[in-house]
Symmetry: C2
Subunit: 233 residues, 2 copies
Amino acid sequence: MTILPRRSRLTGASSSDRGLPNATVARLPLYLRALTQLRSQGSQTCSSDQLAESTGVSSANVRKDLSHLGSHGTRGVGYDVDHLRAEIAQAIGQTQDWNVVLVGAGNLGTALAAYPGFTSRGSRIVAVVDADPARVGEQVGDLAIESIDHLETIITERAVSIAIVATPGQAAQTVADQLVGAGVTSILNLAPVALRVPEGVDVRQVDVAAELQILAYHEQRKGHPREEAEVSR
Amino acid sequence: MTILPRRSRLTGASSSDRGLPNATVARLPLYLRALTQLRSQGSQTCSSDQLAESTGVSSANVRKDLSHLGSHGTRGVGYDVDHLRAEIAQAIGQTQDWNVVLVGAGNLGTALAAYPGFTSRGSRIVAVVDADPARVGEQVGDLAIESIDHLETIITERAVSIAIVATPGQAAQTVADQLVGAGVTSILNLAPVALRVPEGVDVRQVDVAAELQILAYHEQRKGHPREEAEVSR
DNA sequence: TCGATTTTGTGAACGCCTTCACCAACTCGT
DNA sequence: ACGAGTTGGTGAAGGCGTTCACAAAATCGA
């Protein structure tokens, strides 16, 4: 009666294939960032200690992560910056640019559309859509806002596989359903709700308000001294 | 996952005191959100299954988390929504509003300043500062941009203990140093760099570009079918 | 060439977190 | 009152990830 449980939604580090541990994958972008900076400073090699320094990860952890790539540094020397960069870029699919559709042209959406940091890091926003007909046609960055009704066409014709959801909370699930229906299999959700998506679709959640609440918890435990009379000057 | 990219220095769930596991703390905001919604829908009680449903956490995990609060649901019935809300709110310090200073009035900064979701979830932005003198005085939301030179005064006089850093990457470390020097002990960093802070200061990192890169990794492993000729119509 | 030094790669230990399995406690219908 | 159905609490087991500690491999100076 015992059936082998199929891997969970997205946690699955799973099987024997070339899959990297999830925790490692989450740190690869950090290494890439650091390596880019080191390169621009002229370094040709770097040690795990240097990478640790500039990413906040422990050096042992850096080495373990990089060893998963099959990457070979040189003992006594360190890693070749260019080579390692290329290797990580390949691992996370940075050899190509990924086309991204941004749903929701509110404050946050427009801010993201204008952010130059995506392009330099492997993603390109190729469309901004909004549900409000009044906004359609409006220029945001170098893109014009399009109607959400055209979502499916946009996604298929522009080879979009990743979407950013920056709508109000109430709309997010509906939008997600449309996205999934149109073939999107990766969603970055900035709306403060948990999205329900079918197996095989990845969702990553970013919730700034929640992050603040987490900080508040720790702050409270420190005894939030600002509440009492100024003690430390 | 978030996860997080998690900070090494503060990971200590540690000792015998009232500390909750870090993973639990990170989920409390989700429960709070879900409970607020359930309440607005008229529910007076809810089961761990319902909470699991609306947060994406497993029901066993929900129960374990809530048990850490010492919270007592009623078997066969569930949890009292109002009571549980109050209990979680207390745990994460939502009984008061936390004063937050926002550094950096760029696209992202102004978007956050206008976001209404903070106030309803325990944080209140009480100042927006920017390094550009030309921006000082400009209105953003219902606050006027102030000079970053006044940071220390602002922080002490307005009892700020949490800061959001939304500056360009190059400026982030300098800003963080100033913040820490002025007494801030919790930082939410939106700049794409790792901040170095002294022990006792908490940093949480939010990096949208990195999240996209993580999604791209998984997308690549799915075989990004959009790269091939349209097979599935 | 040799010894001192640097730095990677990695097995093993450890710790945190999740999941499982099941008991206890409550409701409801009859 | 009782039995069936529901739901929370929790110890135990298992998995994942980090840290530790050290051997192996490279450089460098003399």
